[in-house]
Every structure is written in C-alpha cells, then in structure tokens.
C-alpha cells in the first residue's frame, strides 16, 4: 500500500513535466523512481532525501523548461529574457536547500489546494448561477407555521394564488416521491417527484428524448406515463437512442416511459423520475411579474392565502415566506462553507507569512552576494528578480501541485463533507476554480516576496562589501518586519486553536448526551410499502408478523423491533414509517396557550427492549395488546408532562386523538418511558405517544425493522435484506445499516468540522513555531558578538537566557493578545457548530494560549540554548 501511495505521489509530480515527455516517458520514469525508492527504503533519511531530490528534479527538468517554452516565444518582446535567466539561477540556488524547498512546496500545495477545493464548493453554493434559464429570478414559496417553514403547499392556497395573484406570472409545482422502480434489468428504490406540466418549461429544459407531460396526462383516468432521468434510462434501457414502447413497473404497476430528461435539468435535483401531478399539492416555484419585488410578492400572497387566514383565526402567527430558489436549495450549507473558506484562507496566509519570513532571512544572509552583483553592474531590479524568481518557482510548483490535488479530490471532498451541495452533471471544478487558484498563487507570491524584495532593493549595499562576513548588524526595518510576521502567524495559529478547542468541547458534550436509548448491537432497515397490496392494513400486519418471526429465528438475534428509529423521525407529513404528527390540546384545559406538537409512533412489543428504552412507570406493550383487547398507549416523559401537567398520567384516557390513530376506541395510558431524542442529537426530546402496531389499521407508507444482537450487527444486515426479498421481491429496502452508524451520522457534521479545524490548527501551530524558531535563531546569530561581550563582562548565562527569551516571549505575547482579540471578534461565526458551549468559552480561551506558550518554549529552546553556550572568545574573534 505504501508502494502504491508512493507511485501515486510520483505520478502527481510527473504532471509538472511537459505532456509529450509524460506520455512518452512517464511509465519508464515512474518505474525507475519506484526502483530507487525500494533501494532507499532501508534508511528513512535516505528516502526523504530521495523525495526532496525528486521534487527538485521535477521543478528543474520539468516545470522550468515547460515555463521557459511558453515564456520563450514572447519573453523577448516583454523583456522577460532576464526573467527566464532568473528562474534558472533560482533553481540552481534552491538545489542547495532541499529541506527548505520541500517545506515551502508542500505548505503551498496544501494551502492552495485546500483553498481551491473550498472555493469550488463555495462557488457552487453562493455564486455560480443555477443551471436554469434566468435562475436568479426563480422563487420558492412557503408558509411559516408553529413547527417552522413548510415548503409544501396545498390546493386552496395554490388555486387562490394562480387565479388572483398579480405579482407572480408563472408557477410550477412538484412534490417529492419515492418508489420501487423495476424492469427486466432489475429493481431499485429511487427518488422521484410528481410534477406539473409547466415544470419543464419553467426551467426551459426539454427532454432529450420524447416529451414532457401535457394537460392530457394530468386528467384523472389518463394512461399512466413517466419521464425518467438519463441515469435511470441508462441503467434500465442501456441508453437506447429511442423510446420505442419502453415501460417500467412502479411499485408493481406498469407505466409507459414518454420522455428522458437530463438529471438536474428540473427540480428536484436528485430526482430519477417524474410523474404527472394529479392532486394540487406540492412545492411551488414561481417567476415574479415584471417589476414585482420580494416584499410586494410576500404581502400579496399572504393576503390571498386561505391557510394563513385559518392559522391567524386560531391565534397563531403565520405568513407566507418567499425566498430565492438558491437560498432554499443551498442556504443550510452556507455557514459550513463560509467557515471552511475562512479556515483555509487563514492557513494560506500563514504559509505566505512563513515563506516571507524565511525568504527574507535567506535574502539577508545573501547580502554580500547582492553587494558583489551590484558592484559588478546588476541593477536593483534584477536583484529583486532573483529573489522573486525563487518564490515564483517554489510557490508556483506548490500551487500547481495543489491545483492538481484539488481537481483530483474535489469530488471525494464533496462526498465526505456533510454538505448539501448536490448539483448533478455540473462540474465542480472548472475554469473559475483554476482562475481562483492562479489568483491565490499570484497573491501568495506577492505577499511572500514583498519583504525580501524590499530588503534587497532598498538596502544600502555598499557598506556590506567592507564587512568581513557580509552579514548585517541589526537591521531595524527587516527585523521589525519579521517580528510582525511572526506575531501575525502566532495570532492566526491561536485563533485556529481556540476554534478547535471549542469544537472539541462541543463534540465531547455531544457524545455524552443521554440519547434515551442504547444504539449498540442494533441492525436496522427501512422498507417502503408503496405497493397497492399494502394499502390494506391486514396485509401490512401479515408482512410485519412474518418479518418478526423470521428475524427472531436468525442466530444471535435477541429481539426484533418494528417502529421508527430514534434520531431520524419526526419530520414527515402524514403516515411515513409508522410516524404521525398530532396537535393535541392538554386534557385539563390549560388556557389558550398554543397546543404542543405530539408525535405518534406505531411500535411492536419488542421495540423498547431492542432500543433499551427505560420505563419510568407501568409496563411496555405485550403480545396480547392487539385488535381484540382494549386500546393502550405509552407516553414519554415529555408527553406525560404536557398532556397531564397536574396529574399522574398512568391509567388516564387520552382525549382528542384522531380516529385514524384511536380506531374509535378510548386509549388508556399503561406506561411512561424515558425521553428519547427523535430528530437530532442536539434537539431535546419532544412529546411522544407510542401505540401498538397490532392495534392499528395500518396504511403506512413504510416501516422500519431493527434487530438486537449480541454479535456484530453489521453481519445481520444482509440476512435482513434476504428475509425481505423472500417475503416480497418487489419491496425495496433503504437505510440498511446499524444504529451506531445512525448516531455517528448525526454527529458527522460536527466531527467533520472538528477534524478540519484540528488539522488546520496543528498545521498553523507548526508553521508559526517554525517562524518563531527562525527569527529567534536569526536574532541569536545577529547578537552573538553582543552576547560574547556581555558574558566576558560578567553576565550570567541566565541573564543571556532572559535576554533572548524575552524576544520570543514578547512575540508570543503580542501574537496571543492579537489572536485572542480576533477570536473574540469572530467567534460568533462558529456558533452554529457548537453544542452547549459558547463561542467565548473561558476554559478554551485560557487553555489555548497555554498550549501555544508551551509550543513557543519548545520552538525557542534550541536557539536560546545556543545563545547561552556562546564562548566569549570565539564570539569576539568571529567578526
């Protein structure tokens, strides 16, 4: 595996060579280098040296000739012949410092690569136009209600707006749908949508084969038709070039394919198929009338909406919300993307400051060389070009490597990061990303080169020639500049460390949250019951009983649960996976306060044992709780407190339960459970009622089955899928996995940000400490004579340590003060990623500078030690 990684890395390096050479010699070069690596493997330092030389080889014999070829044709016209010469000289000089080369190249490869990757995502989320005609004018419409914003609208509102609104000119509708799609090739469970006939024309995309829906397809009794995506057409019909009489089975029922649409051409973005919308209910997309503003549209639609009027009559605040389509699609991802961008930009800045610092040190060390060149007639401009050439070579090489890496990992990055940025068939990485990378590289070169170029062009070179070693004494401007850069690096490193510390505390708190259940040892799968056979309750119950019986017989299974999983449910409307939402009034009439949302879950007796949900009082469900016995229910603690605030809920009868839940029977509370988090680890439990699945006339659209095992739950997922296939081959399963995986997925967003910020903080700290080490070393070198004199005059070694240590301490102190101020000012941007931790948490703000100071002590240790070991005789003779 290490060998393969080495091969992959060398092939990345090969991209610096001209294409013709790569194509003709690439394989042989890779094979040679692989052999050299094998030979060098016995000694790690030899392998590192080999890689350093390989990078230099790629720059000298690949990148520079490549650049020279491009520049050579027009360089004379632009007077750049000296530039090419400067590049050649730079590569010769860099050959003597392989460690410096590797450090700079990799810093910038990471910095530019990370920035370019994040820019590609940020561009898609925030700036790049959506792939629809006049996309900026497209709007979505929703209604705010007690639980948030509902983007699914119903018939009365849509009819009122379509007939009477003057501020919108075109509307289209769609609603999400999922179904089992099968053909002779195979079956799958796919995302799709019901769509109005105006949807395709709204986005100005036509099917590439066949047609979109028209008015005939919408009428009741019309033949069943479907439009499919390119990808689904390819999977089931091998991308045939004409439709012929293609048919599919949708939940077992035949449907004719009338059109093939490119994916992402119309909403919803992930849809694989579209069906004609026969009921007027869905998500509304609108184009505004000429001159209509958002506030005007919002006001008119609010005034015309029957739903809003109803809610207001019930005493609730409600209004219509109108938002640009982009905001509704990508708004949730903006905070994360913004934070990513900020972090990677800070890293690039730190890398620039580091290179500027080291480059300035190198330039100052070569003052004698500059003086000799100046004396021989070189202009200051050409001297600056020499300095610039080094940075162009290194930063350019690092930047190009970074861009190649960003291109290679851009898709992987999107898949790993829990961000909702899907835009199928639109390239993530395009000329805009490359342009951004070029600008980032150019800015980096500028920032990193300003100091050293200034030092060379504005210094008085003449006195240097008369000095014995060509070094300067203390140069106030350059030294101050380097101190400022190091303090800046320390400040940025501290900001990233504080951010990392806040996220660490959040993640620790998240992992300690009492979820109310135990996810260990549980395998789970969801089944969608959209087939017409399951519209009858007894068939569903028969399926569940068969499933429970067979699953119980699997070796190692200790229990089988039927019912919605914790942490994923609660957001559907209607019956989905045995989960329904009720708005109930408290039984004792607690005034006119807003009635709470209470969730209803249909579960089997084994549900509480499988998830180890503790009972506070009473009993769980029994196998005898069925349609022949009195209706019973369990409440969670929250529901008990909300529905029976002044009495014990045990033995009480639930009032106001809709008939589809109660089946017309009074429901008695027989037990109270602990609270379980339904939606998200960060959200407190909401009121829940559990009813036995055997006492329901089940017409659910889906069901979730989970099994508890003492062994590895992952090994049961295959067995579960097999049982379902045997019971009904048309059933499609989704979300096959373990409960531990579900919990991990709910924490994924926080963990991802923590990993990113953690890696960034470590890298920033290393770079800052390298900068600190460099400047303290430089100061020791500059003051060697002074130290020698002081010791000769009787100063103790501890005094010398304090003298030099004070320099390092002042830099760390200034950087810490600056960094703390920045963290306080911008800490709020992290708020949405924190859990039970404030952005100005005192413990983190106290601990981070301590770690930073400790790292600073380590960085300054070697140069300070060198200072206290100065031999006065040697120091005084050194000049």
């Amino acid at each position: 595996m290490i060998s393969r990684l080495g091969d992959a890395m060398y092939r990345l390096l090969l991209r610096l060579f001209p294409r013709a050479m790569r194509q003709h010699r690439g394989e042989d070069m890779a094979a040679c280098f692989a052999a050299q690596r094998r030979a060098a493997r016995r000694r790690p330092d030899s392998l590192i040296a080999l890689w350093c030389h390989a990078i230099l080889d790629a720059i000298k014999h690949g990148l520079i000739p490549r650049m020279a070829t491009h520049v050579g044709s027009w360089a004379p016209r632009l007077g750049l012949a000296s530039g090419v010469q400067a590049l050649r000289h730079a590569s010769a000089g860099l050959k003597r410092s392989p460690g410096y080369v590797v450090a700079v190249v990799f810093s910038f490869a990471f910095g530019v690569g990370a920035n370019t990757s994040v820019f590609a995502i940020a561009d898609r989320v925030m700036y790049r136009p959506l792939p629809f005609a006049d996309a900026s004018s497209l709007l979505t419409v929703g209604i705010t209600n007690p639980t948030g914003v509902s983007w699914t609208l119903f018939s009365p509102d849509l009819s009122a707006w379509t007939e009477r609104a003057t501020t919108i000119r075109t509307v289209a509708l769609f609603s999400h749908y999922q179904a089992a799609v099968s053909s002779d090739t195979g079956s799958e469970y796919a995302e799709g949508a019901f769509a109005s006939s105006s949807l395709a024309s709204m986005f100005e995309h036509a099917p590439r084969l066949g047609r979109w829906f028209d008015a005939r397809d919408m009428s009741p009794g019309a033949p069943r038709v479907i439009v499919v995506s390119d990808a689904l057409w390819r999977r089931h019909f091998s991308a045939a070039s004409d439709l012929g009489s293609a048919t599919l089975r949708l939940n077992g029922d035949p449907v004719a394919v009338v059109g093939v649409m490119p994916a992402g051409a119309v909403l919803p973005l992930q849809a694989q198929f579209w069906l004609p919308m026969r009921s007027v209910q869905g998500q509304l997309i609108a184009r505004p009338a000429n001159g209509a503003t958002l506030p005007a549209i919002q006001a008119e639609l609010t005034q015309l909406s029957p739903s809003v009027s109803n809610l207001k009559r019930q005493g609730r605040n409600a209004e219509v919300m109108v938002a640009p389509l982009r905001e509704q699609l990508f708004g949730a991802a903006k905070p994360a993307v913004g934070l990513l961008f900020g972090v990677t930009a800070l890293l690039l800045l730190i890398a620039c400051a580091n290179v500027a610092n080291l480059s300035l040190a190198r330039a100052l060390d070569r003052r004698r060389e500059w003086s000799v060149r100046a004396a021989l007639g070189a202009s200051r401009r050409s001297l600056a070009a020499l300095v610039l050439a080094e940075n162009v070579t290194l930063i350019g090489a690092g930047g190009i490597l970074g861009v190649i890496a960003a291109y290679s990992v851009s898709r992987v990055f999107t898949a790993l990061a829990p961000l909702e940025v899907a835009l199928p068939n639109v390239a993530l990485f395009d000329w805009r990303s490359v342009f951004f990378a070029a600008v980032a590289i150019a800015l980096s070169v500028l920032i990193a080169s300003l100091g050293p170029a200034f030092a060379v062009t504005h210094a008085d070179l003449q006195p240097t020639l008369s000095r014995s070693n060509g070094r300067l004494g203390r140069g106030p401007e350059s030294s101050r500049l380097r101190r400022v850069m190091v303090a800046g690096q320390v400040a940025i490193a501290l900001v990233l460390m504080i951010g990392c510390g806040l996220l660490v505390r959040s993640v620790i708190r998240l992992t300690r949250v009492d979820l109310g259940f135990d996810p260990r040892g549980v395998a789970t799968t969801s089944v969608h019951l959209t087939n017409a056979r399951y519209r009858q309750g007894p068939r569903t119950l028969q399926l569940l009983n068969g499933l429970t019986e067979r699953a119980s017989a699997i070796p190692g299974v200790e229990g089988v649960a039927v019912g919605p999983l914790p942490l994923v449910g609660g957001l559907g409307t209607g019956l989905r996976e045995g989960f329904n939402a009720l708005i109930m009034r408290p039984t004792r009439g607690v005034g006119n306060e807003r009635p709470p949302m209470v969730w209803v879950k249909y579960v089997n007796p084994g549900y509480f044992d499988v998830f180890r949900i503790r009972l506070r009082a009473g009993r769980g469900f029994l196998p005898t709780d069925d349609e022949t016995t009195p209706a019973v229910a369990l409440l969670n603690g929250r529901a008990a407190a909300v529905l029976f605030p002044e009495s014990n809920a045990m033995g009480q009868t639930l009032v106001g339960v809709p008939k589809n839940v109660s089946q017309g029977k009074p429901i008695t509370v027989v037990g109270i459970t602990e609270d379980v988090r339904q939606r998200d680890v960060t959200l407190a439990a909401e009121p829940e009622i559990f009813v036995p699945v055997a006492q329901q006339e089940l017409t659910m659209s889906g069901v979730t089955v989970s099994v508890l095992t003492s062994g590895d739950p992952q090994s049961l997922t295959v067995a579960l899928r097999q049982i379902l296939r045997e019971l009904d081959p048309e059933l499609a399963t989704t979300r096959l996995g373990t409960m531990t995986g579900v919990v991990d997925a709910s924490l994924a967003r926080y963990r991802f940000m923590l990993q990113l910020l953690g890696a960034s903080a470590v890298l920033a700290l290393v770079l800052a400490m390298v900068g600190l080490y460099a400047i303290v070393s430089y100061l020791v070198g500059q003051r060697t004579r002074e130290i020698g004199i002081r010791i000769a005059l009787g100063a103790r070694r501890s005094n010398v340590m304090i003298l030099i240590g004070r320099e390092a301490t002042s830099l760390i102190a200034i950087g810490t003060a600056l960094g703390t101020g920045l963290a306080i000012a911008f800490g709020g941007s992290l708020r949405s990623f924190l859990f039970e931790v404030g952005p100005h948490d005192p413990m983190v703000f106290a601990a981070a500078p301590v770690f930073l100071a400790a790292a600073g002590v380590l960085a300054a240790f070697v140069p300070v030690r060198r200072a206290i070991r100065v031999d006065p005789k040697v120091a005084l003779q050194a000049e």
């Binding site: 060579f17 050479m21 010699r25 394989e27 042989d28 070069m29 890779a30 094979a31 040679c32 280098f33 692989a34 052999a35 050299q36 094998r38 030979a39 080999l50 030389h53 390989a54 230099l56 080889d57 790629a58 000298k60 014999h61 690949g62 000739p65």
Partner: protein
C-alpha cells in the same frame, strides 16, 4: 548533412557518463542509473534528468532506442522494474565518447604538468 562530432564537445557530465555506461552494450533506464551510481556513488540521477538527457542525445543522434515487445520482456529485475525501452550507442555516439575521453585526458595531463599538481602521479 553529417554532423561534425567535435561540434558536440564539450559534453555535459551526465551525457558523457551515459555514453560510457552504454559502451558495454544496450541498457534500459534503471540499469543506466545503477551503472552510473556504481561508477560514482555520490552521483544521484533522478528520472527527469535522465530521460531529458536521453531524449536530447537521441535527438542529436548519439543514441538509438529499441522498444522491447511485451511478450519478449525479461522478468522483473531485482529492482522490480520490467524494462521496456533499451538504449544503445550509435557510431556517432561512440566517436563523440572517444573524442570527449581524449579531450579530458589531455586536460588531466596538462594539469598534472603544472605546478598545481606537481608531485602527484
């Protein structure tokens, strides 16, 4: 038009070393690197430098190249490389190598005759 071998002198260091290494017969890329390293352990040749030089030498007519068909390729060498292209000297290459050797020999003899290296054999 025939190239005057003397117009190619003096040779660059790696060019000369390659000519010398190929004096005993054709070699592939990795074998060339090993041969040069054996002659001078301090000399580290990387593939980029090597193949750019080989391409220049091919263009100048000093070397010729032979592709080994896949079926005829020997098993992987101890270095793990399955060689596919072999390089060998052309008559021009042999002549240039000889001329460069003579030139360097003359330089060495001259320098030994000067006060600088007096006393060294």
């Amino acid at each position: 038009m025939a190239i005057d071998p003397r117009s190619l002198l003096p040779l660059k260091d790696l060019t000369f070393r390659i000519l010398v290494a190929l004096g005993d017969g054709e070699l592939h890329g990795w074998a060339l690197i090993q041969s040069i390293s054996q002659a001078d352990a301090s000399r580290r040749i990387l593939p980029g430098h090597l193949y750019r030089t080989l391409d220049s030498m091919l263009e100048a007519g000093l070397l010729s190249e032979r592709d080994e068909p896949a079926a005829a390729r020997p098993a992987r060498t101890r270095g793990g490389v399955a060689p596919s292209r072999f390089f060998s000297l052309t008559p021009l290459g042999r002549t240039v190598a000889r001329l460069e050797t003579d030139r360097l020999e003359t330089l060495v003899v001259n320098s030994r005759s000067r006060r600088l290296l007096k006393g060294r054999s």
